[in-house]
């Protein structure tokens, strides 16, 4: 699974790094309980601003993209839940 976390200025201001930290923690939770999860690799990438925040007046940051699906106003709990649901057996 590929998780891209935008660390552009807007997303960083509104907590992107804390999302990255939480995903790192989640990796530990998963590795300690590996029987219950697929062996699919969890690939996390910090990426530059995708322009989502620039082309709108709406509030969209932070942005996280999981396997091509974009999450707006992402929070660590919504992101972690999505990841866990995808790889939990």
């Amino acid at each position: 699974m590929k998780v891209k976390v935008c660390v552009g200025s807007n997303c960083t201001l509104l907590g992107a790094m804390s999302i990255l930290d939480q995903i790192d923690d989640l990796k530990i939770i998963i590795s300690e309980d590996s029987d219950n999860y697929n062996d699919e690799e969890l690939e996390v990438e910090a990426i530059r601003c995708l322009g989502f925040c620039k082309n709108t007046d709406e509030k969209v940051a932070p942005i996280v993209v999981i396997d091509g699906e974009t999450m707006y106003n992402a929070t660590s709990q919504t992101v972690m839940e999505k990841i866990v649901n995808k790889i939990r057996k």
Binding site: V7, G8, S9, N10, T12, L13, G15, A16, M17, K54
Partner: protein
């Protein structure tokens, strides 16, 4: 700000970005009336009982970020009241720096021991047996603690086999290392300014975001727009703060794009402070003073001044790295206006000191700086850069991490006088700092170099940071290792005779 307080972090930082935007756009400050609505639109409350209260609190944050006092809830004020006083491009801090937004405070109960549902009224009931004041009895449903009798020793809590007794404290008071949090007539937090050392710990720990400092971003941006002798001096904990893709040079370039003439590492000033403190230690300890405390953490020095006044003369006379860096710039450009950018709230207070105010004109935090990057639309990771930053030694760059200051001073002192024996002890929370000073006062640390830092882990954990401690620690160590020189003694930028 404590990262897991996600909603609070977001509101706080949106306010920074908003105020920075108003300043860059040169907007009329009557626009401020609308700002809280733009940050929290709609009619449905998300965080508290009512959206109107939420917005009123955001209004208060906007005022504090503009450098204004919070309003008194007992008097009628418009959000814009007093604005003409701050709509200027000079330093303008109206004390107090740390403010309780009274109507954001939920008046959490003060410290007490509390029996939860876990209690089974067990036959052994050790809680009653260990209580030194006979305050615990067994009630109908569970054990009961007589709060009038309780002396808060915690023995009942420690002995309960069911973890049924918990200790409860208001987060702000628990976070305060100098017992400065008191209560007003409604039980809300009130800060005793005679004790407060402006460390900012209560600000980051309050789960309601009820305490906030003031900011100077508005005045700083106005100055940036009109003055071309503006310099940024950047604290050694800046590494990793602005996202994993922003390199140190990109951060410095980004700062220049905000309107600064140049950006300099405060680690350069740390090198100078190290040389001065090493000399001072060799000269004065133990003949003139029994031990020496470092001087770079402002909250630590104010704490000693307020709580241990008779020991204050044992704190080093050397200026802090912030001030040394500013002095270095002033020497080359006497018209320089200097902004310190760091993790620290206490530095805002240090900059008001008589002997500092002509050197350091603005102090903002990394969080506030990030708000400025956003307001100006700067994407750090996309900036083209070539050269490296080489203002300071590896030891100077290590000041950001607890233990780093004493380590630098000790190493340099030892290269000056290898025969000297130097013992070092450090404390890196305000609670620990107070304990360390008690021990030092009793004469048990004579001959020592004492390093005091108010933040847990050092400046890398300051209240104005954005990234987690581990992230920043790693980035600081990387940057330390990239320094061309190891020791301040090799730093060619420092030319004056320091002794």
């Amino acid at each position: 700000m404590k990262e897991s307080y996600v909603d609070l972090v977001r509101i706080r930082r949106q306010v920074f970005a908003k105020v920075a935007k108003l300043a860059y756009d040169g907007a009329d400050l009557s626009e401020l009336e609308k700002a809280s609505f733009e940050i929290l639109p709609g009619e449905v409350a998300t965080y508290r009982d009512s959206i109107f209260r939420e917005r009123a609190i955001v209004d208060e944050r906007l005022r504090l970020t503009l450098g204004l006092n919070a309003r008194k809830p007992t008097e009628h004020h418009r959000v814009t009241d007093g604005i003409n006083d701050v709509d200027v491009d000079k330093i303008q801090f109206i004390e107090p720096l740390i403010n309780v937004i009274t109507f954001a405070c939920e008046a959490c109960p003060t410290k007490q021991f509390y029996v939860t549902d876990n209690c089974r009224k067990c036959l052994a009931h050790p809680c009653t047996n260990v209580c030194p004041t006979n305050a615990v009895s067994i009630g109908r449903k569970r054990a009961i603690i007589d709060l009038d009798k309780c002396i808060k020793c915690g023995r009942c809590k420690d002995t309960c086999p069911y973890s049924a007794i918990v200790q409860y404290d208001r987060p702000c008071a628990a976070a305060c290392g100098v017992n400065a949090i008191e209560s007003d007539y409604l039980g809300r937090a009130e800060i005793n300014m005679d004790r407060c050392v402006s460390c900012g710990n209560c600000i980051i720990q309050c789960p309601y975001g009820a305490i906030s400092d003031k900011s100077q971003i508005y005045q700083l941006i106005k100055a940036l727009k009109s003055n071309d002798h503006m310099y940024a001096i950047v604290a050694p904990s800046f590494l990793g703060q602005f996202g994993p893709l922003a390199s140190p040079v990109q951060i410095f370039e980004g700062i220049k794009q905000l309107g600064f003439e140049d950006a300099i590492e405060v680690s350069l000033g740390a090198d100078i402070t190290t040389l001065r403190e090493a000399n001072e230690f060799l000269e004065r300890v133990p003949n003139e003073i029994p031990y020496m405390g470092t001087s770079c953490c402002n909250s630590w020095t104010i704490m000693v001044e307020k709580l241990f006044p008779d020991q204050f003369e044992y704190i080093s006379d050397s200026s802090s790295p912030m001030v040394e860096t500013a002095k270095y710039i002033k020497k080359n450009d006497p018209d320089a206006k200097i902004a310190f950018i760091g993790p620290c709230i206490s530095k805002k207070l240090e900059a008001l000191r008589e002997d500092v105010k002509d050197y350091v004109h603005f102090v903002i935090t990394f969080e506030e700086l990030m708000g400025m990057f956003v307001a100006k639309g700067i994407e750090l990771s996309e900036i083209e850069v070539s050269e490296k930053i080489q203002d300071a030694s590896s030891l100077g760059r290590g000041y950001a991490i607890a233990g780093g200051v004493a380590e630098a001073v000790k190493q340099v002192a030892l290269s000056m006088d290898p025969s000297k024996e130097i013992n070092v002890e450090g404390a890196s929370t305000l609670h620990e700092c107070v304990k360390l000073m008690r021990v030092a006062k009793s004469g048990k640390r004579n001959g020592y170099l004492l390093e005091g830092m108010a933040c847990s882990g050092g400046c890398i954990a300051g209240p104005g940071t954005l990234a987690s401690l581990n992230r920043v620690r790693k980035a600081v160590i990387d940057f330390k290792n990239q320094a061309d020189i190891k020791s301040p003694l090799e730093n060619k930028i420092i030319d004056e005779n320091l002794s």
